[in-house]
């Protein structure tokens, strides 16, 4: 086990930021910490990195207790925080080289790793640029390069794609997958469920400082009763028809709002076919039809009663 967090409690006066939080991150996985803003993700990361004192609990990294003076553990960790942490007065190359030299003593090795990191984030053309001359996306890539340049065994990324354009976001996500393929264990925090679904092999959903569900994305989706979501463009439908629709087999809920009929069904075969047959039989006109499998947002919604982005 790379990271083991047991019963972590962190209070800010009366506010409980972490409420007996438990986490286990296995070697080689991309562990997603998903939760809305203020759920305690960043606090948890700061406690894991010993940047923040906590009130109760135990944290072990690589099987050893983690603390502010655990420099032998810190040398194998790379961090990429939400805010870009680079020196404005140093060039792209100098920044990456400096942060590498905090971990690696050998000069030649620093040079080699710096070059590799620059290539990894595709900043070759910009290595003599100062951070102020870089766009938001390039700056994020520089931030990542500074965090991973020393080839850490554990990489912690705290919302690295906030305010990033889609192109840079994809590049960042691809990079994270690549780092994982090269052997690094990743802890990835985000409130973007799509990102977490896209790259994480193990996901912990966190709310009010507690893990409310954990597993693979399929495990999490299997926890909830919704199996399929059918959305139809319907301009007019009688209340009686809606009642009859609710009585169809496997149908979980039916709602008609603003010309959109939303049908949630339990797991089962031919849910869409039976709905379409019903509409034809009742002579109800409809437009676009969209069918979706449940998302992590549905999981969060069912467990907490609120949306992930609330």
């Amino acid at each position: 086990m790379v990271v083991k967090v047991d019963g972590l409690v962190k209070r800010y006066d009366k506010l409980v930021a972490l409420d007996y939080l438990d986490l286990q991150v296995e070697e080689g996985e991309i562990f997603g910490l998903l939760g809305p803003n203020g759920s305690g993700k960043t606090t948890a990361i700061n406690c894991i990195l010993s940047l923040l004192k906590y009130d109760k609990g135990n944290i072990e990294i690589f099987g050893k207790p983690m603390g502010p003076n655990a420099y032998h553990i810190k040398k194998d960790i790379g961090i990429i925080m939400q805010n870009v942490a680079v020196f404005d007065e140093l060039t792209v190359y100098e920044n990456i080289s400096y942060f590498c030299s905090l971990y690696i003593k050998d000069r030649e090795e620093v040079k080699r790793l710096t070059q590799e990191a620059i290539e990894f984030v595709s900043l070759e053309e910009f290595k003599k640029f100062y951070p102020k001359k870089l766009s938001g996306g390039l700056l994020r890539r520089l931030n990542i390069a500074c965090g991973i340049v020393h080839k850490p065994k554990l990489i912690i990324l705290d919302e690295p794609t906030v305010a990033v354009d889609p192109q840079s976001r994809n590049k960042i996500l691809e990079g994270i997958k690549k780092l994982n393929e090269e052997g690094a264990t990743i802890i990835y925090t985000s409130h973007y469920m799509e990102e977490v679904e896209q790259i994480c092999s193990n996901i912990a959903i966190i709310d009010k400082g507690r893990v409310i569900a954990q597993g693979t994305k399929d495990d999490l989706k299997a926890m909830i009763s919704i199996g399929e979501k059918i959305s139809m463009e319907v301009f007019r439908i009688e209340e009686e028809a809606l009642e009859e629709l609710r009585r169809l087999p496997n149908i979980y809920s039916v709602e008609h709002r603003e010309n959109l009929l939303e049908i949630k069904s339990k797991k089962g075969k031919n849910n869409l076919v039976s709905v379409l047959e019903f509409m034809q039989r009742m002579n109800i006109n409809f437009g676009k039809v969209i069918t979706e499998v449940p998302t992590l947002n549905d999981v969060f919604l069912e467990i907490t009663g609120k949306e992930l982005r609330d």
Binding site: L51, H72, N83, F87, E89, Y103
Partner: protein, 390 residues
């Protein structure tokens, strides 16, 4: 030494501003010392423009008088008409007008009466010299005329002229500026002004570097890395000290080279030591500013405000002797005041006795006390910032 190296890479970005301060200061010092002439041993007579309106005509007495007066004055051609004469005086074409009335010479020979009409420009200092010269001539002439009544006008004139040519050598004994004290005066001026440059340059450079290293996100990266806090701070302190020493050495060498009365003596060493002490205080101020401000723009504004404020208040620009008691009272709460005061005491230091040096040492100790207080505040700020990390 990765932090040490990064310090100097960041300093490179501030180098232009720092070098501008060095260049401007040295240029002004060169200009100032070039224009500074020691006139204390020189005397030059200045001739005053004078208009003489002679209504008495030419004769031996007046010819001799006017020729004698030529040593003090430059004659300006007389103008016609009362208004033209007044205008000449008003527009300072002449500083003095002597009107010799008709019958002046006869009156003098008969009863020794001198009835010259004199007009001088208002508040003219030169008029006193001319008055004295005129009185001198006619008083001596009157003495000869009174005691030798049979002598002719020409003879009297020749006696007076011979008399007035006699000169007596006078030695003035007083405090004379020697080269040693001139050297100390230069150093006092030089190091007082250097105080301003040190404050402005250090805040511009050191505060900016400290601001970069103490930014919240950078500190998080450092704390999460295997570098110890002691190692990080140790490298920063070392880099700061080397920068201070290097910067001071440049100015000490330049000050020594520009001082034409240069000498290495107790006073010079004390000037250097006082400058180093003040540099340490300034370093602590720059450190405090660097870790306290929230933007780099604030550093630039503070650099100007603090350096000029301290310089004017403490007597770096205007000597403390000219500052009012309330200003000096306020200034005494700044380290710069004690720096300037120490420079003044070093300038007048004549012996190497401990009783004299101890006063200067106490001024330096007060400066170090300020440094210790400022560093204590900085440590509190730093601790608070560490708590703010997350």
């Amino acid at each position: 030494m990765q932090v040490f190296k990064a310090y100097y890479k960041i300093l490179k970005s501030q180098l232009t501003a720092v070098l501008i301060y060095v260049a401007l200061f040295l240029m002004l010092t060169i200009l100032f010392t070039g224009n500074l002439k020691d006139n204390s041993n020189q005397f030059e007579t200045k001739k005053v423009p004078v208009m003489v309106i002679n209504e008495d005509g030419q004769n031996g007495l007046l010819d001799s008088f006017l020729s004698y007066l030529e040593e003090y004055v430059v004659y300006v051609e007389p103008k016609a008409g009362a208004d033209a004469i007044k205008d000449a005086l008003y527009y300072r074409e002449v500083s003095y007008i002597i009107t010799i009335p008709k019958g002046f010479s006869d009156s003098f020979y008969e009863n020794g009466e001198i009835n010259l009409t004199k007009q001088a420009a208002p508040d003219s200092m030169e008029a006193i010299t001319i008055d004295q010269a005129i009185d001198n001539y006619f008083n001596i002439a009157r003495v000869y005329q009174g005691h030798l009544p049979e002598t002719t006008a020409e003879e009297i004139s020749s006696y007076v002229q011979a008399n007035l040519k006699e000169q007596t050598r006078v030695h003035l004994y007083g405090e004379q500026k020697d080269s040693v004290s001139a050297g100390h005066s230069f150093n006092r001026f030089y190091y007082n002004y250097l105080g301003y440059i040190i404050v402005a340059a250090f805040i511009t450079s050191v505060s900016t570097i400290m601001f970069s290293f103490h930014g919240l996100d950078i500190r998080r990266r450092h704390f999460a890395s295997p570098i110890t806090e002691r190692n990080l701070n140790g490298q920063l302190i070392l880099a700061n000290m080397i920068f201070v020493i290097f910067y001071l050495v440049i100015f000490i060498v330049a000050g020594y080279a520009l001082n034409k009365y240069r000498a290495v003596n107790t006073n010079t060493l004390l000037f250097w030591l006082n400058a180093f002490t003040f540099a340490l205080v300034t370093l602590s101020i720059s450190y405090l500013i660097g870790i306290s401000v929230k933007s780099k723009k604030a550093i630039s504004a503070l650099s100007t405000a603090v350096s000029l404020g301290i310089a004017f208040l403490s007597g770096m620009f205007v000597p403390q002797e000219f500052l009012g008691a309330p200003v000096l009272k306020v200034a005494s709460f700044t380290p710069a005041y004690w720096f300037v005061k120490a420079n003044g005491a070093i300038e007048t230091l004549t012996t190497s006795s401990w009783s004299e040096i101890s006063k200067i040492a106490s001024f330096m100790a007060i400066q170090l006390g300020f440094a210790a207080a400022i560093i204590s505040i900085a440590l509190v700020v730093s601790k608070r910032k560490r708590q703010q990390i997350s």
